[in-house]
């Protein structure tokens, strides 16, 4: 019965392989870029960046998990997360500053320096 139940579960779901994670991360990465490019609101752009970083993280974790490697991957992921936080903090501060100056957070309108 139990076995049956298990048998019911599709094989790829039972034990997902490295590719799956890579694909996920790739998709995340692309989505991140998409967000960065398309969204006009700075906050959204920042979120996109977070996506990109996390895509990287997934890679690291996945690689560590699926290979006979040390824990470096996890380590790196931690660092990245921390840095992402730091970056976000700075970025938000700057956005705040921008909002005071331009009273907008629309990236397009912040383009006085050009050519």
């Amino acid at each position: 019965m139990m076995a049956f139940c298990i048998a019911q579960i599709p094989q790829w779901l039972a034990e997902p392989g490295l590719q799956h994670f890579l694909i996920i991360s790739a998709i995340l990465f692309s989505l991140g870029l998409l967000a960065v490019i398309t969204r006009r609101n700075v906050i959204m752009v920042l979120m996109g960046i977070e996506l990109i970083l996390n895509a990287a993280n997934i890679n690291f974790i996945a690689f560590t998990r699926y290979s006979t490697l040390s824990l470096e991957g996890h380590l790196i992921a931690l660092f990245v997360i921390i840095l992402a936080a730091a970056e976000a903090a700075i970025a938000l501060a700057i956005v705040l500053n921008i909002y005071q100056r331009f009273s907008t957070v629309n990236v397009d309108e912040i383009s006085t320096l050009r050519e």
Binding site: L22, S25, F29, G32, L33, V36, V42, V45, L46, I49, I52, L53, A55, A56, N57, N59, F60, A62, F63, S67, L69, E72, G73, L75, I76, F79, V80, L83, A86, E87, I90, A91, I94, V95, N97, I98, R101, F102, V107, I110, S111, T112, L113, R114, E115
Partner: protein, 496 residues
């Protein structure tokens, strides 16, 4: 393990000194009542100490913290360059009127500079991709803030925003690329990567993806096309001191990191010859990509620079062009090329700082950054303008100035490696660059002063600083034996 760490710390003293300086600066900023450039002197003191430590490292060729950081002649050379620029920048900042608007936070300014220095020091030495990434971020984060640090609020606020967004994304790409590379090789330190790649069982496609993403990440730091877009805007918006710092120091650090990464991790140990001509592992011809980028960079930089009227922006583009020249040195895959890059940075430091510094002095006095306002300045401030002319000539690369020697060695390296096409393009670019450099001193000397013709005078210390930059620029033009020796002997990296 423990003693290894202890030994490592012995060799990590310069960075530690910088860290300490940073903390001291913060504290000093807190306790010092009156808000002025006092912190600067703390920082200078810190830099002096660091210098001492750096010079005590000369001759070492070690890898510390279990292949995290290398202390080798290569790193030391760049640390010296960084220290030099650090000193100059601090002096500039003391002179810079632009920063006075918010004297209140001047302390932060200096400590951020120290932070940048720290980051760049680590960049110069890092042999581990993670550490490289961290150092890069440290430098960037500090510079994000510095870029926004000035009275001309709108511009610099915008600059910092663009910078942070662009920077974050680029570093994101970098780390993503790193993750893939990690997946391929299972290592994050360059030696491990190299060892893994030697075996040759990896999918070139993945390597290519990773490589290009990493190039994008580094390319952003060293402002080579097509990853340079942030720089003109940021350079224009940021305070001139920071612009100079970014244009020289962070570029140098970025190149140091880039060179080390590419050389060490992709070098093919079998093909390494004593003649210093090394070849790279089959499967990823990154040097071709870099060659294309070099051509793009120098051409674009020069062509666009012609149209700039803002001196800072013009120098920004010119520095992009120079990045293009410098990149050639890495493309040719010879120690000679790398030596010429290092030489170039020394020369470039003096002449470019010189140009920026005088631009700053002028904007201090005349409160303008528009080249059209330089008309007839040669008759109002002869000394400074002559110096400016010399710096620009040097940037163009006409003897007998340092710039010529730098270009000379670079071209020499490229020719001896047989990249004649590349050097021809570079030569043509040099001619193009003449247009806009000439335009500046043409405005200074060939045009009569318009309107105000009162002489412009500068304080003694300012002049002193000018000479501090002018003399090397001329001296290295006619006597450059030792500097070349130094560069050539410093090509040695740990491991290779």
């Amino acid at each position: 393990m423990a003693e290894h760490i202890l030994e490592s710390i012995q060799l990590f003293l310069p960075e530690i000194a910088l860290t300490v300086t940073l903390c001291v600066a913060i504290i000093a900023d807190l306790i010092l009542k009156e808000r002025n450039h006092n912190v600067a002197y703390v920082v200078i003191a810190g830099l002096v100490v660091t210098t001492i430590f750096v010079f005590r490292q000369v001759g070492f060729n070690e890898s510390i913290f279990s292949d995290m950081v290398a202390v080798d002649p290569f790193a030391i050379f760049f640390k010296v360059v960084l220290l030099l620029s650090g000193f100059f920048i601090v002096f500039f900042s003391i002179k810079c009127r632009e920063l006075d608007a918010n004297k209140k936070r001047i302390g932060e300014y200096y400590m951020l500079i120290t932070a940048m220095m720290l980051g760049m020091f680590i960049m110069a030495g890092a042999t581990n991709l993670l550490l490289m990434y961290l150092a890069l971020e440290l430098t960037s984060v500090a510079s994000y803030i510095l870029a926004g640090y000035t009275k001309r609020a709108r511009d610099s606020a915008e600059a910092s925003l663009k910078y942070v967004l662009y920077g974050a994304i680029s570093s994101g790409m970098l780390i993503y690329g790193v993750s893939i590379l990690y997946g391929i090789t299972g290592a994050t330190d360059v030696y491990g990567i190299n060892a893994a790649l030697q075996t040759g069982d990896f999918s070139p496609l993945a390597l290519l993806t990773a490589g290009i993403l990493i190039i994008a990440g580094f390319g952003y730091k060293v402002t080579v096309a097509p990853f340079h877009f942030w720089s003109p805007d940021v350079y224009e918006g940021a305070p001139i001191t920071i612009t100079a710092f970014l244009a020289v120091a962070s570029k140098a650090a970025g190149f140091a990191m880039m060179i080390r990464f590419f050389k060490v991790s992709f070098i093919d140990a079998e093909l390494l010859t004593a003649a210093g001509v090394w070849d790279i592992i089959a499967g990823f011809q990154w040097n071709i990509i870099l060659a294309v980028m070099a051509v793009l960079t120098m051409t674009l930089g020069n062509l666009v620079a012609i149209w700039q009227n803002n001196i800072k922006r013009l120098l920004a583009y010119s520095s992009i062009a120079h990045a293009g020249y410098i990149l050639m040195g890495l493309v040719v895959l010879t120690d000679q090329g790398i030596a010429s890059i290092m030489l170039y940075f020394v020369m470039y430091l003096f002449m470019n700082f010189g140009a920026f510094y005088i631009a700053m002095l002028i904007s201090n006095k005349l409160n303008t950054e528009d080249i059209e306002d330089y008309k007839g300045l040669g008759y109002r401030a002869p000394l400074v303008c002559v110096a400016m002319a010399v710096f620009l000539i040097s940037l163009t690369g006409i003897p007998p100035t340092a710039g010529f020697i730098a270009k000379f060695y670079l071209f020499a390296a490229v020719i001896s490696a047989g990249w004649y096409g590349l050097v021809l393009i570079a030569a043509i670019n040099t001619v193009v660059s003449l247009f806009y450099y000439v335009r500046i001193f043409r405005n200074m000397f060939l045009v009569e002063p318009q309107g105000d013709t009162t002489p412009v005078t500068f304080s003694f210390s300012s002049k002193l600083l000018v000479f501090a930059l002018l003399i090397p620029t001329l001296l290295f033009g006619i006597y450059f034996k030792h500097i070349v020796d130094f560069a050539q002997s410093s090509v040695k990296m740990f491991g290779f």
